[in-house]
C-alpha cells in the first residue's frame, strides 16, 4: 500500500539508476522517479489528512500528520532538486568534470539518499529509524566525496567520523529506550514501535528515559548541526556538489530534527519536567549565536549559507524548546520555509559558482551585469533567508520571537543581536557580489532558464506562506502538531 510504495519507489529508482545510470537520459529518468515519489508523498499526505494516521508493513511503517508534512517536503524538494541537478550536471559534464560512471554513482546514491530519508520519516520502529538515518549518512558521505577533490575527500571524512560517532551515541540511546520500554511492552518487536511507546510513555522509567534523551540529542543533534556538534556541516556543504548541499540543508537536517522531536514527545511523557525543552532551548540559542558570529569572516559563499543553515536549525530547535501551540507551530513553519528557501538559494549559488568559476566571495563580482537573473534571485533569496517580509521565514521568526517574549524573555536580546548580525553579514556579502564594481570581468554566460523554475517555485511558495498563509495549511500544521502532542509545551 501507500507507505510501502513510497519506500519502494525510490528503492526501485536506485536499482534502475544503478543499472542504467551511465546511459544517456538516465538523469531524466531520475527526475521522473523523483517526481513519482513526490506524487506518492502527496497521495500519502492526502490520505493522512483526510482519514487519520496510516500504518503498514506489519506496524513497522507508520505516518501521522507530522511525518506526512515532512514526507511532502522531502518528496517535493527532492523532486525539484533532481530537476536542478539535471541542468547542473549537464554544465559539469560540459566542463568535462565527470564521466558516465560517476553520473551513475551520483544518480543511484541520490535515490538511495531520498529512500533513506523517507524511510526515517515513515518508519514506526525507532530502531529502523536509526538504521535509515545511518544509511542516509553513508549515502551522503559518498556523495560529498563524489568530486574526489582533496578538499571534498577531507570534508567527507570529517562528516563520516563525526556523524558516525554521533549516530553511535544515538544507538546507545535507542538501546536505553528499548531497555526501559520492554518492561512494560515486553521484549520483541513492539517495544520499539513509536505508536506503542506513545501509548505507554507515561509509565516509562524517567531516569532511563532522561539518560536516553541526552544520548539522542547529542547523537541526532550532530546531524541537525547543533553547536558544538556542528563542525562537519560547513565543510560537507561547501565541498560537495551543490545539489547535494541543497538537499543536505533542505532535507537531511530537518529529518534529523524530526527524529529528535519524535523522541522528545516520548521523553516529555515520562519525565514530567522541563529537561527536553531546556536542552532544546540551550542548544538552539547557542547554535544561533555561534553561527551568526561565524558568518562574519566567511569568504566561501557555500560555507556562508551552510552557517546560515546552522542558525536556522538552531532557531527551529529553539522554537520547539519554547513549546506551546505557537512555539511548536512556529518551529514547524520555520523548518518548512527554511528547507524551501535554503534549497532554492543553493540552486542559485550552484549556478553562481559555475558562472564565476569560484566559490570565493571576493572573486564573485558584477553578477548584476553578468547574469541579472542570478543576481535578482540571489538578492531575493538573501532577503528571504534573513527573515524579511513578505517571505515565510519572517512569519515564523515573528511567531518565534513573540512566543519567546512571553516564555523566555532572557533569550530575546541575544536572539535579536544574532538576527541583526546575520542580516548584516549576509546582506553585505550579497550586495558585494551582485552590485557592479571594477572586478575581473567574467564571460557573461547565459543563465539556464530551466533551472529557474525550481527556484521561483520555492520563492513563490515562501511568498505565499508569508503573505497569504492559507488557513487550510495552518489547520494542517496544527493537526500535525496535535497528532504527536507537541502543542502542549512546558
Amino acid at each position: 500500500m501507500i507507505l510501502t510504495a513510497i519506500v519502494l519507489c525510490p528503492l526501485l529508482g536506485a536499482l534502475v539508476m544503478g543499472i542504467v545510470g551511465h546511459r544517456k537520459g538516465a538523469d531524466a529518468l531520475n527526475v521522473l522517479f523523483s517526481f513519482l515519489t513526490f506524487g506518492l508523498s502527496l497521495l500519502l499526505a492526502f490520505r493522512v489528512f483526510t482519514d487519520g494516521p496510516v500504518t503498514g508493513g506489519a506496524e513497522q511503517l507508520y505516518s501521522d500528520g507530522f511525518s506526512a508534512i515532512f514526507v511532502v517536503i522531502t518528496g517535493g524538494v527532492g523532486a525539484t532538486t533532481s530537476l536542478f541537478s539535471l541542468r547542473y550536471m549537464a554544465i559539469e559534464k560540459a566542463h568535462g568534470h565527470l564521466g558516465a560512471e560517476r553520473t551513475r554513482l551520483y544518480l543511484a546514491l541520490y535515490q538511495i539518499f531520498i529512500l533513506a530519508m523517507l524511510a526515517v520519516l515513515v518508519s514506526n520502529n525507532l530502531g529502523i529509524l536509526w538504521v535509515s538515518l545511518e544509511g542516509a549518512t553513508l549515502a551522503t558521505v559518498l556523495l560529498v566525496a563524489w568530486t574526489r577533490k582533496p578538499a571534498s575527500v577531507k570534508a567527507a571524512w570529517k562528516y563520516f567520523i563525526l556523524c558516525g560517532v554521533g549516530i553511535a551515541l544515538a544507538l546507545f540511546g535507542t538501546i536505553l529506550l528499548y531497555f526501559a520500554s520492554e518492561k512494560t511492552l515486553g521484549p520483541g518487536g513492539t517495544a520499539l514501535l513509536w505508536t506503542h511507546l506513545n501509548g505507554v510513555k507515561t509509565t516509562l522509567e524517567p531516569t532511563v528515559i532522561g539518560l536516553a534523551f541526552i544520548f539522542f540529542i547529542v547523537g541526532y543533534g550532530t546531524k541537525v548541526g547543533l553547536v558544538p556538534l556542528h563542525n562537519w556541516l560547513p565543510d560537507a556543504h561547501a565541498e560537495g556538489p551543490t545539489p547535494i548541499s541543497a538537499v543536505l540543508s533542505g532535507l537531511l537536517l530537518n529529518v534529523a530534527l524530526y527524529a529528535i522531536l519524535r523522541i522528545k514527545v516520548l521523553a516529555d511523557g515520562s519525565l514530567h519536567n522541563h529537561l527536553t525543552s531546556r536542552l532544546l532551548l540551550g542548544f538552539g540559542l547557542v547554535s544561533v549565536l555561534l553561527a551568526s558570529l561565524s558568518m562574519w569572516k566567511r569568504q566561501d559563499i557555500k560555507r556562508l549559507f551552510a552557517y546560515s543553515s546552522i542558525e536556522h536549525m538552531g532557531l527551529a530547535t529553539f522554537a520547539f524548546g519554547l513549546g506551546g501551540p505557537v512555539g511548536a507551530f512556529a518551529g514547524l513553519l520555520h523548518m518548512t520555509s527554511h528547507s524551501l528557501i535554503k534549497s532554492a538559494i543553493f540552486f542559485v549559488v550552484g549556478h553562481v559558482v559555475q558562472t564565476s568559476g569560484s566559490q570565493k566571495i571576493p572573486e564573485i563580482r558584477n553578477l548584476g551585469e553578468r547574469t541579472p537573473a542570478l543576481a535578482r534571485a540571489l538578492t531575493i533569496g538573501g532577503l528571504a533567508i534573513t527573515g524579511l517580509p513578505p517571505f515565510a521565514i519572517f512569519a515564523s521568526e515573528f511567531l518565534i520571537l513573540s512566543t519567546a517574549v512571553s516564555r523566555a524573555p532572557w533569550a530575546i536580546p541575544p536572539l535579536l543581536l544574532a538576527l541583526l548580525i546575520t542580516f548584516a553579514v549576509l546582506f553585505r556579502r550579497i550586495q558585494e557580489m551582485t552590485s557592479a564594481s571594477e572586478a575581473p570581468a567574467f564571460p557573461s554566460s547565459p543563465t539556464p532558464t530551466l533551472t529557474f523554475y525550481p527556484v521561483w517555485i520555492h520563492f513563490g511558495l515562501a511568498l505565499v506562506i508569508g503573505l497569504f498563509f492559507p488557513d487550510s495549511l495552518g489547520r494542517l500544521f496544527h493537526t500535525a502538531l496535535l497528532s504527536i502532542g507537541l502543542t502542549h509545551g512546558q
Partner: protein
Amino acid sequence: MSPPLPAHPFANDLVQFLGSALLMSAFAMLALRRMTSLVRIFALQGVLLTLSTLAVAILSAETHLLFSAIFTFAFKVVLLPAILFRLLNRLRIQGEVEVLVNVPSTMVLGLAIAVFSFTLAGPISELASTVSKGLIGVGLASLLLSFLMMISRRKALTQVIGFLGMENALFFSAINATYGMPMVVELGVAFDVLVGTFVFGIFFFQIRETFESLDLKHMDTTSME
C-alpha cells in the same frame, strides 16, 4: 517480561567475567600502539561478544540470540578483521601509531571515565531484570573508552577501529541490558556497520591516492579560507 531465571551463579559470574574482559580489551586498545595488535584486539572483542551472546542466549532461552551469536561470530570475528588485515597489507600500514595524548595520561583519563560511567549507570542497573546487573555500566564505559581512543589517535585506521569498538560496546550493552534488540533492528545495524566498513575501505584508497598517507594531519588542515 523475560521469564524468571533459575539461580545460576556460575552463569552470572561468566557473564560478569566476559563483561570485565571486554572492558579490559577497551583499555588495551587505549594502551596499545601497534596497528596489527589493535586489529587483533578488535577480533578478540568479537570473540568475547560471541561468547557473552551465547551465554545470555542459553540462560534466557531467547532463541534469536543464538542466531545473533552465530552472526556476530561470522561478522565480527571473521569478516571484519579479515577486511582490516587486508587493508593493512594492501595499504602497507604497519608500525607504531603516534598518539596525540601520551598513553599514561590517557589511561588515567580512561579510568576516570570508567568510574564515571559506573556511577552514572548505577541507578539504572538496579532496574535491570536481566541476568547481569551493572553490565550496562560496563557497556557505557567501553563505549566511552572507544570514543576516547578515537580522540587520542591520529591515524585514520585507528579511528575506524575505535568506531568499530564503539559498535561492539553498543552491541554488548544491547545484549546484556535487554537480551538484544529486535531481530530486524540488529540486522539493520549490522548491515549498516558492514556498509560503513566498505565505505571506510573506499575512503582509504581515496585518501591514499590524494594524500599518499593515512595520517590525519593532512585531513586536519581544513581548506577553509
